[in-house]
Amino acid sequence: RPAPTPSEMATETLNATWHNFSKFLDAPRGSQLLGMSDLKLYFHRFGYLLPKRKINTTVTFSDEFDEEFESAVVEYQKRLGLETTGKLDKDTMETIMAPRCGMSDAAVHPSPAGLTKQLHTTQH
């Protein structure tokens, strides 16, 4: 059999970085789920969640679906044009797991219509 082309090989290689977040679908507020801290890191990375704890220079989060995280989910849903439920519903999880631009969503100057509140600035 001829060696596979790079294109065929790429077909077999799927990214699991955010795919693992699918296990948090419909997780209720107050729940404690192993790995939720990684989802919170995602929200931190893209400008929706400030860390409570820093160990040395490493940002860490708990695995609890707490009130602060719920507020971050609401903010995310508003900014991404999703229904604002504050829940990790299907549309929200699909959007979270979709490939995206690496720029933070937070470093914004609102449009005249008043799109969002400003969370913080970034190095960009």
Binding site: S7, T17, L80, M103, D105
Partner: protein, 191 residues
Amino acid sequence: FSYFYGKPRWTRPSPINLSYAFSPDHTLDYLTSKQVKAAFAAAFARWAAVIPVSFHPTEDYRSADVTIGFFKGDHGDGEPFDGVLGVLGHAFSPENGRFHLDASERWAVDLSEEKSKVAVDLESVATHEIGHVLGLAHSSVKEAIMYPSLKPRTKKVDLRIDDVEGVQALYGSNPNFKLSSLYESDMYSNG
């Protein structure tokens, strides 16, 4: 539409001419230079059609206003790439000009030819990142070019009213462009 904090823009005297160049070291081995350059030329042309800013390619990477490269993993700007899918690329706000794409993606210039399930349309991502280079941040309008996510095997290259109004508020309108034509186009495509 939205802007970066401080609303940065390219501030040189009008008419603004920006040069762009590709890194000679950080390239792709499965697309030709000609294919990559054509995708970027088309993406730059879309923005140039609506604002009085022109873009021209140069071979001088060090002195170019916009510097483009395909990088893997940690590439020194504090925002490491993460492999296939996930983050596709990033670009810096004005007047930085750095424009980085994740070399781990399967970049496509023709989705009818590229069969990979994880193929990402190069022109679509280029068009989005040029928006950042010009000073636009992410939009909450799903149809807009500046919406932050893009599914694999999807081509999304047409500027929408949200994109155009945002960038024209920074640079003004290209005298040859009529916003009314875009309204008609949007109304037609939205039924």
